[in-house]
């Protein structure tokens, strides 16, 4: 990651250390707080979320851990209203967003998926430029320039005109992160972003995520990487069967777990 991309520094490109011209649309990322309150969601009789509370202060990273099927990924999709919660409230920057246009809300929250989900019919640069051009009103040239700048952040600028299918899994996930960053989101979601990668590639993506955390973004990270959860996150949430069983600092959860379920879970994954 290059120095000029420090997201929390207002308009880094205009800083003194670089002679590069300002990248259009590369507005500062202004992290905000995110809060979920008593969220419920059921698909038919399958009650996936049973009153979940989560509180992510601005500029912090919260990691969500828990066994498969505990509702972690669904929680992310409820927080950005890909699934509408059936009960509960979502607050962004302290204000309820349930009455907002959901498309508007999602533009403020970047999301990175386990399966990358890059658009295969577009080039790498077009993947990053599509959102800014169609949703942020940037011109074709401006949005491409922005996409290139974000690709540089993830170290893939030279792949700008390649098709996603010609990239490795790790490279594709970097592009996906760049695509999300190009929207200059106030919050970033990572949904098991390293689970589909070969073990030797996990480290690179985790390092990139760590940089994002270090730069002070608001992040919610669903992961099985306990090392990341423990060392990088400010808070850890342990979910099981659609409920938050335990939440707190990494130190507390990893060293002094209260619940039997968390202790069992940790003993299995560590």
């Amino acid at each position: 990651m290059t120095e000029n991309s420090t997201p929390s520094t207002p308009q880094a490109a205009t800083g003194t250390t670089t002679t590069k011209p300002a990248v259009p649309g590369k507005t500062p990322i202004v992290p905000v707080s995110l809060e979920g309150k008593g969220l419920h969601l059921a698909f038919g009789s399958n009650h996936v979320l049973r009153g979940v509370d989560i509180d992510v202060p601005a500029g912090t990273t919260t990691t969500v851990i828990g066994p498969s099927g505990s509702g972690k990924s669904t929680l992310l999709r409820v927080l950005n209203r890909l699934h509408e919660p059936q009960q509960g409230d979502i607050l962004l920057d302290g204000r309820s967003v349930l009455k907002d246009d959901p498309d508007e809300l999602r533009r403020r929250i970047g999301m990175v998926f386990q399966q990358f989900n890059l658009f295969p019919h577009k080039t790498v640069a077009e993947n990053g430029a599509l959102g800014p051009r169609k949703l942020r009103g940037l011109s074709a040239d401006e949005s491409r320039e922005l996409a290139l700048a974000e690709l540089e952040v993830v170290g893939l600028r030279e792949k700008a005109d390649a098709r996603p299918s010609s990239l490795s899994g790790g490279q594709q996930q970097r592009v996906a992160i760049a695509r999300a960053l190009a929207m200059r989101p106030q919050v970033m979601f990572f949904d098991e972003a390293t689970s589909a990668l070969d073990p030797e590639l996990v480290k690179g993506i985790l390092a990139l995520m760590t940089e994002c955390s270090a730069e002070g973004m608001t992040m919610v990270v669903v992961t099985h990487e306990m090392g990341y959860a423990r060392t990088v996150s400010d808070n850890v949430v342990f979910m099981d069967a659609g409920k938050v069983v335990e939440a707190g600092t990494p130190e507390k959860l990893f060293e002094d777990a209260e619940s039997e379920r968390l202790r069992t879970f940790l003993s299995q994954v560590l």
Binding site: R107, F113, N117, F119, L135, S165, G169
Partner: protein
């Protein structure tokens, strides 16, 4: 990377020899481009006169002539603007190209002609009107006249009570014997020999069709046109063919191994032009014109040129007040000719394979057909296929999007449309659309069915293309929609920017196959009736086939279809392979490692 691409080009190259063969089959034709032959579509002249048939079946139905008018309205009193013409000042005529010398298409001029149509031209001139001919299918001709698609139907139509329920008729201008045609040596010698065990060919909807059913009480085998019926008799698919005498005379050749064994006649079933029911001014005007050209000798001249044969006792053309045409003594000419000519028995019947060879692979006919197929048929086939393909693609895409919509008010209509149009034969849709919608929109289309036909084909194709698109769109992974929505795109934006472009790409081979179908299905537009210049490959081939009684022009048309479709088929395979191999190139682990280490 390089190796597979080479392999692919090799596969493409393999197509080229095949194309070469196809081109070789037709290319000598292009160079030669012989002077077009009018074929049977030319007046045979007085010298070919025939006497009234001797082998006339005992008619036994000497009814009183019920329909011929006693006189006609005076020519001066006809108001040209009150004839109810579709195009003011012009008589629009529906005719066919398949029954020389009565009605046919002169390939050399591209004009519809024949005895019936030449008479009409002379009448139009008398009336001070222009005249325009369109080719169509006999089975739809009367209903097309009834629904005012044409002002006049001209197709050697024998008037019957059944037909008078649909249309009105002019006075008679010709008479209808019908002839029983069989293979030489057949045990069938007369109409009375026909039994339920015989396959008797007729053209669907003709008087012969009714005659076999209602008078002979037998079940006929029905064909769309005379040439097809005759070809089936020659190849032994039917035992007998009952045809209007003019068509039988025109087709039967001793070398074909066929002969007319008996004729029959009814004074009430004269031949007239069909006019929309209730359009008395036009019927009157045509009757007046007919009497006028009888009186000035035009009729006698055209009759002697085109249909020189002895008129039956007790019948003459025109109204009862019209003078009898002054005709040469055809019986005497025929008798004199018979003396000059050697006995016809000398002509030997060709063997089955020689006949088949001549029927399908007559090179001089290929040569004759080629310029018309290239200049008229090919452009029209391409225009029809491309226009209907575009219509089908646009509507198909709408159907696909509606079909996967979350709103049932979009989903259900799309479903119903698809079910209906996929469930109907193409020809039914084309006929229903052309003849049903045609009269409603005639002010827009100028009563020209060409674009209607293209739209009908497009609507049909839309049902199939819609399903192709739908399957393509639904095959796009759910994660693509999720990722697009997560960026902040609306459902509509996600569909148009992300999902549909991918779905369409996946179904390109299937779409190409659909386009190939359209190229072939464009031949069905023929049923709606086309101007000579609008005929596509099949229509051109068929008219030449009708004109010559030989199937070689149709085979030539078939070659043109192959030249269009075979390369497309291989293009489809090529695209398909490329799309598939494109997927295989994904995610080699070496790339990952290189990237991470770098």
């Amino acid at each position: 990377m390089i190796a597979p691409r080479t392999a692919r080009s090799v596969r493409l190259l393999a197509v080229i020899p095949l194309l070469g063969i196809l081109l070789a089959l037709v290319s000598p034709v292009g160079i030669a481009a012989a002077a077009p032959d009018a074929g049977k579509c030319a007046p045979p002249g007085e010298a070919s006169a025939s006497a009234a048939p001797l082998n006339l079946a005992a008619a036994g139905n000497q009814d009183v002539d019920k329909y011929t008018t006693p006189g006609v309205v005076p020519l001066e009193s006809i108001n040209r603007d009150a004839l109810g013409l579709i195009k003011p000042g012009t008589i629009t005529v529906g005719t066919l190209g398949d029954a020389p010398p009565s009605i046919c298409l002169n390939q050399a001029t591209g004009q519809y002609t024949g005895f019936d149509n030449e008479l009409l031209k002379a009448i139009a001139q008398k009336l001070g009107l222009k005249i325009e001919f369109s080719g169509t299918e006999f089975s739809g001709l009367l209903s097309a006249v009834a629904t005012k698609r044409y002002d006049v139907g001209s197709s050697s139509i024998t008037t019957t009570d059944a037909r008078r329920q649909t249309v009105d008729f002019t006075n008679g201008y010709d008479f209808g014997y019908f002839s029983l045609v069989v293979k030489t040596g057949s045990p069938i010698k007369s109409f009375s020999n026909l039994t339920g065990g015989n396959r008797i060919g007729v053209v669907q909807g003709t008087v012969q069709d009714e005659y076999v059913k209602n008078v002979l009480k037998l079940e006929p085998v029905k064909y769309p046109d005379y040439a097809t019926a005759y070809a089936n008799l020659r190849s032994g698919q039917i035992d007998a063919w009952i045809a209007p005498s003019a068509q039988a005379d025109g087709q039967v050749k001793p070398s074909d191994g066929t002969a007319i064994v008996e004729n029959t006649f009814s004074v009430n079933n004269f031949v007239g032009w069909a006019v929309a029911k209730g359009n008395q001014p036009l019927t009157d005007a045509l009757n007046t014109g007919l009497d006028a050209i009888i009186a000035d000798g035009t009729y006698a001249k055209l009759y002697s040129d085109w249909a020189p044969r002895e008129m039956p006792q007790g019948w003459k053309p025109g109204s009862k007040a019209a003078p009898a045409p002054q005709l040469p003594d055809f019986a005497a000419i025929a008798a004199a000719n018979a003396k000059d000519k050697p006995a016809q028995g000398a002509v030997e019947e060709k063997g089955t394979f020689a006949q088949l060879g001549d029927t399908f692979f007559n090179w001089s006919l290929y040569r004759e057909a080629f310029p018309y197929l290239l200049k008229t048929g090919l452009p029209n086939t391409l225009i029809l296929a491309i226009v209907s393909g575009l219509i089908g693609t646009v509507i198909g895409l709408l159907l696909a999007v509606a079909g996967i919509s979350r709103t049932r008010w979009l989903r259900w209509p799309a479903r119903v449309y698809t079910d209906v149009f996929r469930g109907l034969p193409a020809v039914v849709v084309i006929l229903l659309f052309g003849l049903g919608i045609g009269p409603i929109v005639k002010d827009i289309t100028g009563n020209n069915p060409y674009w209607l036909g293209a739209i009908a084909l497009g609507l049909l194709a839309a049902a199939y293309i819609g399903e192709i698109f739908r399957s393509g769109i639904q095959s796009v992974e759910a994660g693509q929609m999720e990722a697009s929505r997560a960026i902040g795109f609306s459902y509509r934006q996600s569909m148009s920017l992300v999902i549909i472009p991918q779905g369409v790409r996946r179904v390109l081979p299937a779409l190409m196959n659909q386009f190939i179908s359209l190229i072939k299905d464009s031949s069905l537009i023929y049923f709606l009736g086309l101007l000579a210049s609008q005929r596509e490959l099949f229509a051109v081939g068929r008219d030449l086939n009708a004109n010559t009684g030989n199937l070689s022009p149709l085979v030539a048309a078939g070659l043109f279809y192959l030249i269009l479709t075979v390369p497309l088929t291989h293009l489809v395979n090529y695209i398909d392979t490329r799309l598939r191999s494109g997927k295989r190139e994904q995610t080699p682990v070496e790339l990952d490692l290189a990237a991470e280490k770098g």
